[in-house]
C-alpha cells in the first residue's frame, strides 16, 4: 500500500466552488476534458463516442439536485453540484493503492496518478467516498483531477493564467483556486466569509476543496409562503388612485 507524505507542507492547493452561483452550464466539465485530454499521460478517451452508449473519462462532472426544504424560502431550489477530486489530506485512494501509482504531493497536497505504475485495479475508485475517479476505458488506468498541475506552475503561461482550466473558464465565476492551507489566502477568506463547507467531513478524509452553500434567502420571498408584512409586502394605493396622486405631484 502507498504512504501519504510524511512531511507534508502547509500548502494545500484546492478549489472553492460556489453552489450559490453555479448555473450548471457544464463549461468547467468540458473545458477540463479539453485541456486534460492532452495533459494526462494517456488521453481522456471516449468509447462508443458516436454510438449507443457514449462513455468517456472525465475529471469533473456537474450534477443537478432539487432541494425543497424550508431554507429555500418556499420556492425550492435547484442546486448544481460540480464533483471532482477534493485532494484529501487523508486520501484513502492513495493509501489503498497497491503499486504507488496514486500519490499525494508533499509540496502542495495535490493527489495524482502515475499512469506508468497504475495497473487499473480500481481499488482507489472504490476507496474514494466522493466518486472522484474514473477508469479510462481505453488505457485502463485511473484518471482524476490534477488541479491542472501542468498549468498552475507552467512558466509557458502568463502568471494570471496559471490556474486550473475549470476555474479559468467558469462563466459564472463560481470556481476559485488557491492555497487553503494559508488562512490569509483569497480562497480561505472566501470560505470564512461564506461559511464554506467540506464534504462529508465526518468520514475523516479531510478534503481540501470547499463548497460555498447557497445564500440564505430573505424571509417572505416564497411564492407560496405567508406574505411578509410591512412596506415590502404590498404598495399602499395612493389616495384618489393614480390620477389623484398625479394631481398632488404636479401641484407640489
Amino acid at each position: 500500500m502507498t504512504e501519504l507524505p510524511k512531511h507534508p507542507s502547509a500548502k494545500r492547493l484546492g478549489l472553492v466552488i460556489d453552489l450559490d452561483t453555479c448555473v450548471g452550464c457544464q463549461a468547467c466539465v468540458v473545458h477540463c476534458k479539453e485541456w486534460n485530454t492532452s495533459s494526462t499521460a494517456s488521453p481522456l478517451a471516449d468509447t462508443d463516442p458516436y454510438g449507443q452508449e457514449p462513455s468517456g473519462a472525465w475529471l469533473n462532472r456537474v450534477h443537478g439536485f432539487e432541494v425543497e426544504d424550508a431554507d429555500t424560502g418556499g420556492c425550492g431550489r435547484t442546486v448544481h453540484f460540480p464533483r471532482s477530486c477534493l485532494h484529501c489530506e487523508n486520501a484513502a485512494c492513495v493509501t489503498v493503492c497497491p503499486t504507488g501509482a496514486s500519490y499525494k504531493r508533499a509540496e502542495d497536497g495535490i493527489v495524482l496518478v502515475d499512469e506508468a505504475k497504475c495497473i487499473g485495479c480500481g481499488l482507489c475508485a472504490w476507496a474514494c467516498p466522493y466518486g472522484a475517479r474514473e477508469m479510462d476505458g481505453v488505457a485502463k488506468v485511473m484518471k482524476k483531477c490534477t488541479l491542472c498541475i501542468d498549468r498552475i506552475y507552467n512558466e509557458h503561461l502568463p502568471v494570471e493564467e496559471r490556474e486550473p482550466a475549470c476555474v479559468r473558464t467558469c462563466p459564472a465565476k463560481a470556481r476559485h483556486f488557491g492555497d487553503l492551507g494559508d488562512p490569509d489566502s483569497a480562497v480561505s477568506t472566501l470560505v470564512a466569509e461564506r461559511a464554506g463547507v467540506a464534504l462529508m467531513p465526518e468520514l475523516g478524509y479531510a478534503p481540501t476543496n470547499r463548497y460555498l452553500p447557497p445564500r440564505q434567502r430573505p424571509a417572505g420571498t416564497a411564492a407560496d409562503a405567508t406574505p411578509a408584512t410591512g412596506p415590502r409586502a404590498a404598495l399602499e394605493p395612493a389616495p384618489g388612485g393614480f390620477l389623484g396622486w398625479l394631481d398632488r405631484v404636479l401641484t407640489d
Binding site: 473545458h31 458516436y50 435547484t78 430573505p218 407560496d224
Partner: protein, 943 residues
Amino acid sequence: MTAEADTQPRIADEILKTTCYMCACRCGIRVHMLDGRIRYIDGNPDHPVNRGVLCAKGSAGIMHHLSPARLTKPLKRVGERGAGEFQEIEWDEAMALATDWLAEIRKTDPRKLAFFTGRDQSQGLTGFWASQFGTCNYAAHGGFCSVNMAAGGLYSIGGSFWEFGEPDFEHARYFLLFGVAEDHDSNPLKLGLAELKKRGAKIVSVNPIRTGYSAIADEWIGIRPGTDGLFVMSLLHELLNAGKIDLDYLGRWTNAASLVIDAPNDPDDGLIARDGEGRPLVGTRNGVVPTGPNVKPAFKGRFTLADGRSAVPVLELLARRYTGPDYAPDAVAETCGIPAATIRRIAAELAAAAFDEPVVIDQPWTDVHGVRHEQMIGRPVAMHAMRGISAHSNGFHTCRAIHLLQMLLGTIDTPGGFRFKTPFPRPIPPGPQPAGRPDQIAAGMPMAGPPLGFPRGPEDLILEDDGSPRRIDKAFSWDAPLALHGMMHSVIGNAFRGDPYEVDVLFMYMANMAWNSAMNSTETAAMLTAKKPDGSYVIPKFIYSDAFYAETVAYADLILPDTTYLERHDCISLLDRPIGSADAVADSIRQPVVQPDRDVRPFQDVLIDLGARLGLPAFIDDDGAPRFPGGYPDYMVNHERKPGVGPLAGWRGKDGERHGVGPVNPDQLNRYIANGCFFSHPIPEEARYFKHVNAAYLAFAKEMGLIEAPNPIILQLYSEPLQRFRLAARGHGKTQPPDDKRGRIATYFDPLPIWYPPFDEAAAAAAAFPLHAVTQRPMFMYHSWGGHNPWLRQILSRNALYMHHATAAALGIQEGDRVAITSRHGRVVGRAKLMAGVHPSTVWTWNAIGKRRGSWGLEGNIPEAEEGFLLNPLIDDLLPARDGGYRYANADPVTGQAAWYDLRVKVEKLPEDHRENPPPGIRRQPNATKPPKVVAYAVKAGR
C-alpha cells in the same frame, strides 16, 4: 520512485485568435496550435464579449471540427428525396447546376427563388445578395427565433433585449428575469449573474421551470406559460395605483405627455397630435403647446386642439387601462398561476429598489436640449427577457409590456437599469423599409431595397395590388405586418400549398428545416417529398448548404458543403449583428486557423461566386468579371454599402486611421487579426447612459455611422405605428386590410400592450389538452450544432418529459414511465421524469436531442433516435380555420413569430412494452467513414 509530473509542458507553437461559432454568442477564442494541430481552445481574455471565459460548447470545438458528420464534397441527389441517395460531384458541376437553376428564374420571375438562411451571421451579405438577385423571398431564422423581442423593443425603446442590450450588472440591485433566456448572450449573462451575486443584488426569475439561471435566482416565480404579459400588467396596476413611477423620466424622455387625438371617426384618431413641424403637442396650464425642454406638460386631462378636437395625454390612457380592476393582482392570480400576494410584493420590491436608493454616478452629461446634468442618476432595477416571452403568440405585446414597466420605473439606459448596446438605440422604428412591392421587383433586375425592414404603417407592407401577401412566407402582409425577420417557419408549408404561390428553387443554409427547426416536422418532411400527378416534386428544386449531415440534407437536390468555423473567414458586422457593448462600438471577424481537409467551401465564398456567375451587378465589375475574386474576405474589406460604410467598422482609411466611416483599407483584416479578430472603440464616458437623449452619445453615434442624424430617440409607451394599422382596419387610408382581416388587425394592433390567451392554447380544448408543453435547450447545446458532439452528447443523449410530481400523480405516472404526449395535431412517445421545479400546469423537455437514425454521422441505434423525441411533430404550423375558413400561421399576429410555446397537450401512461415506430431512418452519409469506436484525442509537445 514516482515519476515527477511534468509541470512545464509547451502548450502552443502559435496562438491564433478568432471568433467562436459553437453557438450564436460570438465569443473571442484563442486556438492553441501545437505541431500543426489544435491543442486547446480557450476564451480570449481581451475579448469584450466573453472576457476569457468559454462555455461547454466552445470548449468542445475540437470535437466539432473533427466530426464524422462533416460533409466532404458537393452532392447531387440521385434517389428519391428523403432517401439520402447522392452522387458526389465536383464543385464546377455543382456551381453550374445552381447557376442554371437560378439564372432561369431570375430571367423570368425572381420571386421563384425562396432563399432562407438559418443561424448564420452573414445576413449583411445574404440579404444584400437576395436583393441583388431580385427576390423579396429572403430571411434568416429570426421569425422562428425571437422576432417578438426585436420588434417589441425596436418599436418601443429603439433597442431590444436579445444581445442588443444588457442589464447594468455593475449597478443593478434588483434583477427581474423572464422565461428561458439561456439562448442569446449566454456568457455575458453568466458573467453578469456572477457580478450581481457578488454584490448581493436580488435575482428574481419568472419562469415555469426552475433550471439554468432560474436555479440560482433568489426567488423563483413559477408562472403559467404565456401569462407573463398579464403578470407584468398587474405590476403596472400596482405601481400606478401607488404612484410609484418616475414621472420626471417619463415626461422628459418618453411620449407619456404627448396628446393622443380623440376623434373616433377621424382618420387620425389615436395618433399623436403634432404641430406643423411634426413636434408632438402636450397639454399645459396655458393650453396646448409643442413639447420642449421648458414646457411643464400635463399627464392627465382633456385638452382642446387648435382644430377644436380633443386630445388626452398618453399617460392618462395608459393609467386608465392598467389601473382598472382587470389587472388587479387578485384578478390575474389564477390565470398566471401566481398568488396575488406575490404579485403585490414584487411590485413593492420593484418600487423600493427603484425609488428608495437611486444609483448616482458622478459623471456630468448634457441632454439633447443642451441641459447639463451634473450626475447620472438611475433606477437600479434591471430586467431581461428572451425566448420564453418571445415564443408565444402574445409575445410582442408581452415584450412591450415589459418595456413599459422599465420605462415607468425610469430604468431604460439609466445606471442600474437596462443598457443599450451599440449600434442601439436607433430611431423608433428604425429604417429602412422592406422592399418587394410590385413596383420594386422586375425580372433580371436587383430589387429596389432590402427584403427585410421596418414598416412605419400600412403603406410599407409588401402586398400584391389586391392586398394579398406577396412574399412566400406572408411576412409584411396583413397576416403579420411587422414580420421584421421574415417567417422561415412558413416557407416550406406555403410553397407546398402554393399559397400564395409556388416557388421553383428553395435555397437554404444552415437550418434543419426537415427536423428540429420546423414546427410540424413530420409534415414538413412529407411536403419536401410530395409529388405532383406528373411525378415532379411540388417544390421543384432544393439547394441546401450545411457543414454537417443534418436531417435536412437528405431532402435536398443539391448540397453545397460548408466549412467549420475554424476553417473560414466571417464577419460579425455592424450591418448585421455586431458584438457591440454598452460601452463600446465593436465588431469582429473569423479567420481560418486550419485549412479544410475536405472538398468544401465557405458558404459565403460560394454565394459571392454564384452572384458573379449570375451577373448580379454588385458582384461583377464593369467588365463582367467577378468583383470579389478573393471571396468573402475580399468582400469584407472592399464592399461598400454606401461611401465609407462597409461590413467592418474598424481601421478604415488608407492607413487604418478611421473608425466607423472611412475609405477602404486593403490591410483591414490584418489589423483585425493583430487585435485578436475584433474591433472595439470606446464610447466617451459622458455618453454611456441616457444614450437615447444624450447629446454626446448621439453625436458620437452619428460620427460612427450608427445613426443618420443626432436626433433624440423618444421612448414610445404608446405606439403610433400600431395605431396606423388599426386605423387602416377601421377603413382609413389607401392601404386597408381585406374585410375578413379587419377585426384581427383592429384587435392586435393596440397602441398600448394587451394580453390575450395564446392562440393555439385557445384552439385546443382545455379539457382535452390540459397541460402546457414547452421546450428549452440545455446550456451546453443552446444555439449549437453540437447535439452530435461526442463530448456534449455524453452529458445528454436522451431527453425525457419532465413534469411536476403532483401532475404525474394525478395521471398515475411514475418516474421513468413511458408516456404518450398528444396535441390537437400529433402524438409522440417519451419517458417521464418527475421534478418539483416546474409549474404543475406545464410539462417540458430538452429540444433537439432527438435525432433521426442515420443522420449526423452517428450510428443507428443511438439513444437520441431510440429514446429521444421532439415536440415539433405536435406543433401545427397553422392555426385552426377562423375568420371565414382562413388558416393563419401559428404565430404572433403582429410579428409572425412562431408560437412554439403555445402548445397544449395531454399526457397518458403507456405500458412499458409499448412501442411506437420512431421516424424511419435515413441512409448514412455517402462515402462516410465509419464513426470511430474510440476517440482518444491528444496533442502534446514533442510528438
